[in-house]
């Protein structure tokens, strides 16, 4: 923290965090009474929604510009539910399947993937359905990881994706539930067992 009159031993914060702390919008508080006003407005909306009984009423509300906005958002959220790591529980007759969406980083901006995690007797099967990720170049490969909140990494497998678009099946001997992120890195062959830190895909585990 600069300007601390010297001898400051406070833990350093990431530069982007400090930048956010200097941004007034980060600190912006809702105007007094906004929460109550929001709740009053929401109650009115709920009451109106519940009072809609005729087709004419529904049509009027459906074409209200504000309701068009809200409907668009709801549609986006429901369709994009997995993009924020929502857990989807599988069928009643089989093992639970948890789905996590991964997004490409600046290293692979066109890439995206969906991971399906299923508990099996020998561990956790993680199926990656990836699109937009280029094949690993010669001398390199991709590696998938589970990452905990403390930064601990557990590898769950490697692949190169050079010969087609089949789903990639990986395995974890640890329960993904104790981890925060599922990531894919680009590794250099012969570069050792540690993560290269070159993350190409990342997804938040529920």
């Amino acid at each position: 923290m600069s300007g601390t009159d010297g001898n400051d031993v406070s833990p350093a914060l990431p530069e982007r965090t400090e930048s956010a702390l200097r941004d007034r919008s980060t600190w912006a508080s809702p105007p007094p009474g906004l929460e109550d006003a929001l709740l009053a407005g929401l109650r009115r909306e709920r009451d109106q929604d519940r009072a809609v009984t005729t087709d004419d009423d529904r049509a009027r509300r459906a074409w209200d510009p504000r309701n068009l906005i809200i409907a668009a958002v709801v549609t986006l959220v429901v369709l994009a539910g997995t993009a924020i790591g929502l857990r989807v529980v599988g069928g009643q007759d089989g093992p639970e399947a948890h789905q996590v969406a991964l997004v490409g980083t600046t290293l692979a901006p066109d890439a995206h993937a969906e991971a399906t995690i299923v508990s099996k007797p020998s561990g956790f099967e993680i199926t990656l359905d990836i699109e937009g990720l280029p094949p690993a170049p010669a001398g390199a490969y991709y590696q998938a990881w589970l990452k905990s909140a403390d930064g601990d990494l557990v590898t769950i497998g490697t692949f190169h994706a050079r010969e087609g678009g089949d789903a990639i099946i990986l395995w974890s001997g640890v329960d993904p539930e104790g981890f925060e992120l599922l990531t894919v890195t680009l590794q250099k062959q012969g570069g050792g067992a540690e993560s290269s830190g070159q993350v190409v895909l990342t997804g938040t585990l529920p």
């Binding site: 923290m1 702390l21 105007p31 006003a37 929001l38 929401l42 958002v73």
Partner: protein, 186 residues
């Protein structure tokens, strides 16, 4: 992250319970408003955008799984709502001041930027008041520790200890953001 919503409230929220939803509003209005302000730059418009986001959240609540973390789900709704709201206002034509028009027409933030701002705000909201105050005086007003001590009428040693605790708390809550930056996720 610190400050997760009570699981009973999450279950009520997903089930459409009014009281649970109101609890969620009180819990998250701050970060939602901060995100809206970062995008539209006007308090009145930000309040309107947050209103739209909350209505959308209520209508989509049945799609939320109570086992999940509500914060990223709600942040996504806020981001989507602001984006759709901005495009709708552009389509209907600006009817506000030139300053507001510029704010509305500027490119919207990425979801990653919005989620990061959300997390920083929630971390700030979780700080004790005395720690939050010294952080605010330093980062928003640019005061040195000596100046903060004079402003608050407290010894500089107290300022230093509050600053140290605040930074420690923020680092604990936000360290994962630094990791994601180093690993090229941002």
């Amino acid at each position: 992250m610190d400050g997760r919503v009570d699981p009973e409230v999450l279950r009520g929220f997903a089930a459409g319970d009014d009281a649970a939803f109101e609890e969620v509003v009180r819990h998250f209005a701050g970060p939602m408003f901060a995100v809206a302000m970062a995008t539209v730059g006007n308090r009145e418009l930000a309040a309107d955008a947050v209103q739209q986001a909350l209505i959308a959240a209520w209508r989509a609540s049945s799609s939320f799984s109570p086992d999940a973390d509500l914060a990223p789900w709600l942040c996504t709704i806020t981001w989507c709502a602001i984006d759709v709201w901005r495009r709708d206002r552009r389509h209907r034509g600006p009817d506000l001041t030139a300053t507001t028009e510029v704010a509305e027409l500027a490119p919207g933030p990425t979801y990653e930027a919005v989620w990061e701002a959300w997390q920083v705000r929630r971390a700030l909201d979780s700080l004790p008041a005395d720690e939050r105050e010294v952080v605010s005086l330093h980062y928003l007003e640019g005061l040195t520790q000596s100046e903060i001590a004079v402003r608050l009428g407290i010894p500089i040693g107290t300022v230093k200890s509050r600053t140290h605790r605040a930074h420690h708390h923020l680092q604990q809550l936000l360290a994962h953001l630094a990791d994601e930056i180093r690993e090229g996720t941002r």
